[in-house]
């Protein structure tokens, strides 16, 4: 049974507080990206859809990575 952790409770609190703004920043970036993509699509520009989706996917990967890191702190 695993009791030990690399970080004490207060340290884990610091880590989670540090990660939260990054995750929110990335999500706001994704929101802007989706808005810009839909605007371009409705304006007849279809070329941006695929690159924007790939960038959004990378953002999701970053977010999932940060969340996994948090769960691995326990």
């Amino acid at each position: 049974m695993k009791h030990g952790s690399r970080f004490a409770r207060s340290q884990r609190m610091t880590v989670v507080s540090a990660i939260l703004p990054f995750v929110i920043l990335i999500v706001v970036l994704q929101l802007w990206l989706l808005t810009a993509t839909v605007n371009a699509y409705l304006g007849g520009d279809r070329a941006v859809a695929l690159p924007a989706a790939l960038v959004s996917l990378v953002c999701l990967g970053l977010n999932v990575g940060l969340l996994r890191y948090l769960y691995r702190l326990d």
Partner: protein
């Protein structure tokens, strides 16, 4: 009710360990309902917030993929049964008339731009749905509500608030009659 055989301390929730160190199943009902220590509460709630923000991030990716799907596979023009909308002699060059195509649609605008040249668009401005007016001598369509301008030849938005082109109605001249044959999506 079954009990676990081990008496070793078992974490309840994340890092919370009951004060007696006994199995979660041996804890009183209230502690099983509220298994997270108050010291852990901020950490767990903040981590859960991050979890839901990451779910939102996934939802944005799904939205992006929907746009990709639509841009790759959506139909660019919808064909309907051809319908006569005007005779060639009905309109002078530079003249216009409204019609509905397919029946029951929003108003469409047919404009005669040459001897046998016609163009047709949705009459509603893509900004706030005001009716557009042809200005044939300038080769434009004008929306007087907010001073929006569209190219008469292509339907593209060229000035003012509108950001999207006017949906185009495909027209053909057969003998002395103008037929509408389909409608292009706005996003093409």
């Amino acid at each position: 009710m079954s009990h676990t055989t081990t008496d070793a301390p078992v974490p309840v929730g994340t890092r919370s360990v009951p004060p007696d160190g006994a199995s979660p199943r041996k804890q009183p009902r209230w502690r099983r309902d509220f298994p997270i220590d108050w010291q852990e509460d901020d950490y767990v709630s903040r981590r859960d917030l991050i979890k839901y923000v990451v779910l939102t991030s996934g939802a944005f990716v799904v939205g992006q993929l929907c746009v990709v799907y639509k841009s790759l596979f959506a139909r660019r023009a919808t064909a309907f049964e051809a319908s006569a909308v005007a005779s060639v002699n009905e309109l002078a060059v530079g003249g216009a008339k409204t019609f509905a195509y397919p029946p029951g649609s929003t108003p469409r605008l047919l404009v005669r731009t040459g001897a046998r040249a016609f163009v047709a668009y949705d009459q509603q401005c893509t900004h706030l749905q005001c009716p557009v007016i042809p200005v044939v001598e300038q080769g434009k369509l004008h929306c007087p509500c907010h001073n929006g301008w569209f190219d008469l030849r292509t339907g593209d938005a060229i000035a003012g608030p509108p950001q999207r082109r006017l949906p185009r109605v495909l027209v053909e001249v057969r003998a002395d009659t103008v037929y509408a044959t389909g409608v292009e999506d706005a996003a093409t």
